[in-house]
């Protein structure tokens, strides 16, 4: 078996082969498969919203709309990408991935209905120790830590990295909410914050803040 890119495909299990055959076929069998798949996507979306903390505040019609939008968009994506399914997993696992990612994306957009846009730009540095999960240390020590990180942020990061670091770390804006707000993708935001963490650490070590204290703690 060869996929649409000309690559050897993995062997399909029977259930996955049935799904593919029905969805790429015609007539009543295809219609039945479409209805069944949509029902499964709705069920996964419902459970996923129920499972997630971010979905806790969503109920009633708003919840139903989000569930059906996620299932509908996932359905479109699945049908558009059927030719890329190579049988490396069960068909349903491959399909469910689309609806799980749609739920994440829609929850990211929904975040801004409950939080003002100014939330993105606020900078309350006193929250930093708490956000790091640090214990209740002395105010003077926390102030020194905050001062060192602020200096690293100002001197080592690009403006883009600084903005995303502040939003994600200080303001606890979820990554998917930032993605929705900035019109980018999750990987781009994650990579910017990943690079920011690495650069801040490098700055703190180079300036003797971190390494000496870290060694002292072990």
């Amino acid at each position: 078996m060869v996929d649409t890119c000309g690559n050897p495909a993995a062997t399909l299990d029977d259930a996955s082969a049935e799904w593919l055959s029905a969805l790429t076929g015609t007539g009543a069998a295809r219609e039945a498969a479409l209805t069944r798949l949509h029902g499964l996507l709705v069920r996964v979306a419902v459970r996923e919203l129920r499972r997630r903390e971010a979905g806790a505040g969503i109920s009633g019609r708003e919840r139903d709309d989000l569930v059906h939008q996620a299932a509908d968009d996932a359905m479109l994506a699945i049908l558009g990408k059927l030719g890329t399914f190579r049988g490396e997993s069960r068909f349903t696992t491959w399909a469910y991935r689309f609806v799980v990612l749609e739920v994440s994306s829609k929850l990211g957009r929904h975040y801004w209905r409950q939080h003002p846009a100014e939330h993105l730009e606020a900078e309350d540095w006193d929250r930093l120790p708490d956000r790091l999960g640090a214990g209740p240390g002395e105010d003077a020590e926390h102030a020194e830590l905050v001062k060192a990180v602020r200096q690293a942020v100002e001197e080592a990061l690009t403006e883009h990295q600084r903005r995303l670091f502040v939003a994600v770390v200080l303001n606890e804006v979820p990554l998917d909410a930032l993605v929705a707000r900035l019109g980018t993708n999750r990987n781009a935001v994650y990579k910017a914050v990943f690079d920011a963490r690495r650069k801040i650490r490098g700055f703190l070590v180079a300036n003797g803040y971190l390494e000496e204290r870290w060694r002292g703690s072990s």
Binding site: E88, V100, L132, G135, E138, L145, F194, R197, L210
Partner: protein, 77 residues
Amino acid sequence: MAGIVVSSWAALERFLRTDPADVGCEQAMEILHVYVDLVAADPDAARRYPGVAAHLAACGPCCEDFRGLLAAVTEDR
């Protein structure tokens, strides 16, 4: 008191630590279905994809998607 003070810096160090094996969101999500099927069958299978495991350990949103997809396929079986 010194212990408490050190813990703040230790927490900072832990937060800033990055794993060079981390493949990032794009690659991890690209093969999430394959990874989830393997883990659903055998939890130790995660070792076959150390870069994905490193990413899921560091990225909250991708880990949430992993948990969601794993829950969906587990409930199906």
